[in-house]
């Protein structure tokens, strides 16, 4: 056995060209496999993390019976190791709130009992004015604005019948309620999404609440209510007691399905000590459920982006095996002549495969790791990521062994069986029309791709339909379209190429003669009469290029679209939202403009509760001149195809209004129509009528994360309504991070500003799929493409030299000089390269267009076409060209080392 192994090892090292060619293919396949899997895992973890990041309150434990003591609940929950923080929350409804000494009062609202630590722990309730005082109350900023409340004022709360005496308390602070939704999570046991946000809110210290209000409120009757998307009935206690939890997420599994199970188990363990008394609402799990679907789609996307590359690299290995088939047959015969039995030959072949697999897998793993370090930096191998690398390496090892089994061992075994049965004495292939061609599989696959696209389109699959926070459903069969297109186009390419090389032989000869002179004709003959070999080389090179081009175009479009989406959500590079109570005027715009690195700034007025007909709509007031300079605008956002023309139409019509397409449809408004609306003045708490004229329609308008239904001229809006016109500010800059910091440093001490920029904004309106960072994968796959192109061309040329070395030796003996031989080689290489380049770019563009079309749903602003990043494509094609040149140089080197006297003796 040992001697058989030694023989197998020697056999491998005796054929360095074949061995290295095979290992090159296997190394690239395994390397790309390792890197892709690593990226999938990395992205999975990032997506899980990103999906959970916006959650402010991870879990809410609600008491379902009035007899439960909140303190006991909090203490018990705090005792759980995975619970990072637990804060008791009690709340009750009030029916009216008024400023002492004023006749104006608010509608019904809620009073919350929160400890001072709650504000610090959860951070979504900033105290914008004043401070927490154990003897005073705080009010929401909207309530403060509406009732004109300030720190030091007294308020009076009225409760439901049964509590006759109003409760009076002094105001110690004002709380920003901009992102206060987590306080109002819907208590829907079926887990539906949604908040029961209440506009008027008062915050009391728990001590005061328990002392002054709870005893009386607890005596009020228990009611039930239908809530949530499912309309489930829940018990509503007069004093609702909750514990808000923050969970230690570091222990959560990267796989959202597993994390979901972990959290569900945690939820049950939290409920267990309080049977029938507590229901824990798992806000993380809801998000994970959505992320799970997104991650599945992301995995499919990654795999579909990388599979062609892996297959191509694997095919390179198989190609190398095919090239050495004749030599292997000779060795086999020799072994059998020397008396080796079937078993020995089989064992030697198995050892050969094993050694190749081990070498290929090891080199692939090392190469894959190096490529990761090269493209992502060595920092990527931190402790957290290393645990992701291990399974990737494991799977890639398995893949490498399977590949070697399929590409090397099985053909060799089949060959051996053929030799034994005497059925085949030669591996020379009989040229028959392949099955796929007889079945017209190329056309069939292209038709299937077309049908999938048509059906998807007919079902509205390309239209953005996602609602906030939900996953985008990308059905698996959608990816069939690009996959079928890729295979169909490839087979069609082979068919067309064969047609060109056989029927179009005179044309090929004419073209090559024109380029390379008389030797071009010889090259043309060689190519047309070896259409199979040429077909393999062109197909391999063209597909590698198409893979790279598709990837480059897709990633370019994806990145542009992603940036556009973020800029659209933010409005510009930075958005500044002051608290409603800040009453900033336009002077603040100038202050922002004067900050370093700021290109421009624009103030926007906003009325989120304007009345159009009987419905509340969001109306913005913009200053066209500064808005045009500052906001993220593209002409594709406007129906007439020009952002400038539309905005100028608004500027030139003082009472003009731009409206969103859906509003135009809903109210049947056309450009030129009169639009009547009523805008709300929070100071006077009155609606003011306004008449505007429709001057343009937009599909998207960058203002804020809230959709803008209508946009007026800011001056017209503020003068008519009587407000300051500065509800939020957009800032354009080339350095969003620095400007955000600068705004915080300059104004943060006196104002609680909500600052968002394109670097930190997380897209809230669509799928977490768009949070995927494909840039790293793109860089990696660009390099792999270049390597596969170089390898396929180099392998083809060198194997061609190997296969035709006797032919080249004869040519030398007949007076062909080295330059002429090189010309022949160059003619073939150039032909392959140019055909591959043209078809590769064509097929690649098609695949990219299909991918972009399929992924339209995940973007807020659907892409209208492909983004051609000339630099990226140029780099890819340049690298591929370098690869080709390297392949030709390698072949030339082999040519100059050809020993004519030796090759002429070969049988």
């Amino acid at each position: 056995m040992r001697s058989l192994f030694t023989h197998a090892a020697r056999n491998i090292f005796r054929k360095p060209v074949q061995t290295l060619t095979y290992l090159l293919g296997l190394m690239l396949a395994v390397g790309l496999f390792v890197d892709t899997l690593f990226f999938v895992d990395l992205s999975q973890r990032d997506m899980t993390k990103n999906a959970l990041a916006p959650i402010q309150v991870d879990m809410v434990a609600r008491a379902t019976t009035p007899d439960l003591r909140a303190g006991a609940l909090e203490t018990t929950l705090k005792g759980q190791t995975i619970v990072k923080s637990a804060e008791s929350v009690a709340n009750a409804d009030f029916v009216a709130l008024s400023k002492v000494g004023s006749a104006t009062s608010s509608a019904a609202g809620k009073v919350f009992a929160l400890n001072e630590s709650y504000y610090k722990t959860f951070g979504f309730l900033p105290i914008v004015t004043g401070k927490f005082d154990p003897t005073g109350a705080m009010v929401g900023d909207a309530t403060a604005t509406q009732l004109g409340l300030k720190v030091g004022d007294s308020i009076s709360l009225k409760f439901a019948a049964g509590i006759t005496k109003p409760y009076t308390v002094n105001i110690s602070g004002i709380v920003g309620m901009g992102v206060s939704e987590p306080l109002f999570y819907n208590p829907d046991p079926a887990g539906g999404e949604g908040y029961g946000v209440v506009a008027d809110v008062v915050f009391l210290p728990p001590v005061m609440f328990e002392r002054d209000l709870a005893p009386a409120l607890s005596k009020l009757p228990i009611t039930t209510s239908s809530v949530g998307q499912t309309g489930s009935n829940v018990v509503l206690l007069p004093v609702e007691r909750q514990v808000h939890l923050k969970i230690d997420q570091t222990g959560l599994n990267a796989d959202p399905s597993k994390a979901f199970k972990q959290l569900d188990a945690l939820r049950r363990s939290l409920e267990r000590p309080f049977p029938g008394q507590v229901r824990v609402q798992n806000n993380l799990a809801k998000k994970l459920d959505n992320a799970k679907k997104d991650i599945l789609a992301a995995k499919m996307l990654f795999l579909f982006l990388a599979i062609p590359g892996i297959l191509l690299a694997a095919y390179l290995s198989k190609y190398a095996v095919e090239l050495s088939a004749e030599q292997r047959r000779r060795e086999l015969s020799l072994l059998r002549v020397r008396g080796a039995g079937t078993r020995e030959v089989l064992v030697i072949t198995a050892f050969n495969a094993l050694i190749l697999a081990v070498l290929g897998v090891l080199s692939g793993q090392v190469f894959g790791t190096l490529m990761l370090a090269l493209t992502l930096g060595t920092g990527v191998f931190n402790a957290a990521n290393l645990e992701l690398v291990a399974p990737s390496l494991g799977w890639a090892t398995l893949g490498g062994f399977v590949l070697t089994g399929l590409a090397f061992f099985l053909p060799a075994w089949a060959q051996l069986r053929g030799e034994i049965s005497g059925a085949r004495r030669s591996v020379t292939r009989v040229q028959t029309v392949p099955l796929w061609r007889r079945m017209n599989a190329d056309f069939l696959m292209l038709i299937v791709a077309g049908i999938v696209l048509y059906v998807t389109d007919a079902n509205g699959g390309f239209k953005p339909t996602s609602t906030e926070g939900t996953a985008v459903t990308l059905s698996f069969y959608l990816f069939l379209a690009p996959f079928m297109f890729w295979i169909g186009a490839t087979l069609l390419l082979i068919r067309l190429l064969d047609l060109l090389l056989t029927r179009g032989a005179p044309l090929v000869a004419r073209v090559l003669k024109g380029t390379f002179g008389e030797l071009g004709v010889v090259a043309a003959r060689g190519m047309t009469r070896r259409s199979n070999a040429m077909g393999s080389a062109v197909t391999l090179t063209a597909l590698s290029l198409s893979f790279g081009v598709a990837l480059s175009l897709f990633l370019g479009t994806y990145t542009t679209q992603k940036q556009g989406d973020i800029a659209y959500v933010v409005g510009s590079d930075v958005r500044v939202t002051p608290p409603a109570s800040a009453n900033l005027n336009l002077d603040f715009t100038h202050k922002l403009s004067n900050l370093p690195n700021v290109t421009s700034a624009s103030a926007l007025a906003r009325d989120p509760v304007a009345l159009i007909g009987s419905e509340k709509k969001s109306v913005y007031g913009i200053d066209v001149t500064s808005f045009e300079k500052t906001a993220y605008l593209t002409s594709a956002m406007f129906e007439n195809g020009s952002s400038h023309d539309t905005l100028q139409a608004l500027k030139n019509t003082p009472n003009g209004v731009l409206l969103a397409r859906d509003q135009a449809d809903k109210y049947d408004i056309k450009v030129g129509d009169k639009v009547l609306m009523r805008l709300y003045n929070p100071r006077s708490a009155q609606y003011v009528p306004l008449e505007a004229k429709a001057v343009g329609i937009y599909t998207y308008l960058s203002t804020s994360s809230q959709d803008a239904d209508f946009a007026l001229n800011r001056d017209f809006m503020t003068k008519t309504v009587g407000t300051t016109g500065a509800d939020l500010f957009l800032v354009k800059t080339s350095n969003p991070a620095a400007v955000t910091a600068s705004i915080q440093n300059t104004f943060g001490s006196s104002l609680t500003l909500k600052l968002e920029n394109i670097l930190t904004a997380t897209k809230i309106d669509s799928s977490s799929l768009t949070s995927l960072n494909l840039a790293g994968l793109g860089s990696l796959e660009r390099l792999y493409t270049a390597l596969i192109v170089a390898a396929s061309l180099g392998v083809f040329l060198i194997s061609m030299l190997q296969a035709r070395r006797k032919e080249f030796g004869t040519m030398r003996a007949l007076g062909t000089d080295e330059t002429q031989l090189r010309t022949l080689l160059a003619a073939e290489a150039l032909s392959i390269s140019s055909i591959s380049l043209a078809t590769g770019v064509g097929i690649g563009t098609g695949i990219a267009a299909l991918f972009v079309m399929l992924l339209r749903v995940i973007f807020l602003i659907p892409p209208t076409g492909l983004t051609w990043r000339v630099g990226d494509l140029g780099l890819l094609l340049g690298l591929s060209l370098l690869g080709m040149i390297f392949g030709v140089l390698l072949a030339n080197r082999a040519l100059s080392r050809l020993r004519v006297s030796e090759v002429l003796r070969e049988v």
Partner: protein
Amino acid sequence: MNPILSSFSSSSTPPMSDTLYDLETRKLSRVFDLGERQVQALQNVNFRVQPGESVAIVGPSGGGKSTLLALLGGLDTPTSGQVMLAGKDLYAMTEPERVQLRRGYLGYIFQGYDLLPALSVLENVAYPLLVAGLGSKERTDRARAMLVEVGLEGKEDFLPDELSGGQQQRVGIARCLVAEPHVVLADEPTGNLDTTTTDSILELLRVATLEHKMTLVMVTHDPEVAKSADRTVRIRDGMLEVNP
């Protein structure tokens, strides 16, 4: 049998004379370095061929026949010694000069025919003229004429693998002769052929070299084939044996 045969020996100094030989080797040696060991393929071989003469080199396998032929054709590099072609040292020439020699002065016929598989019969025959830079019409005319001479008229558009072994070798001979070389080097030209075909090929070679006044050096292991030459030299263990 040519009397000059007697002047060959593997160790003696070649006789100096005023005769300009078509081919002459002087103390020609070739050692192959196989890593662990060295193989002396040729050892001080002195060998002369006069213009128009046909010489058969015979000997056992591995004796150095083909190595000698390769060195005579400038396809290998001697370890020491010289190959003189019409009085010029072949291995003192530059590679382009040797290429020129292969295009006009030397012609090759191979045992396995070694036709270019992608080219038609006509294109194969015309190939040496193509690389020599002749125009298309002249190439085609001369190739057609040569095909008539070797009896392959009408097979111009056939591909090599559509022909029999004998026909392929005729194409090989036509390809060699079309460039009108002074010296034809043939390596086992009938090695792959049956007896009848061998006779016809040898006849063809004999007539063609006579008509075109060419010198023929032929390697063979077949004594019958060797008899067709003016003289025979035997090579064994890298050394020439005189007049076997």
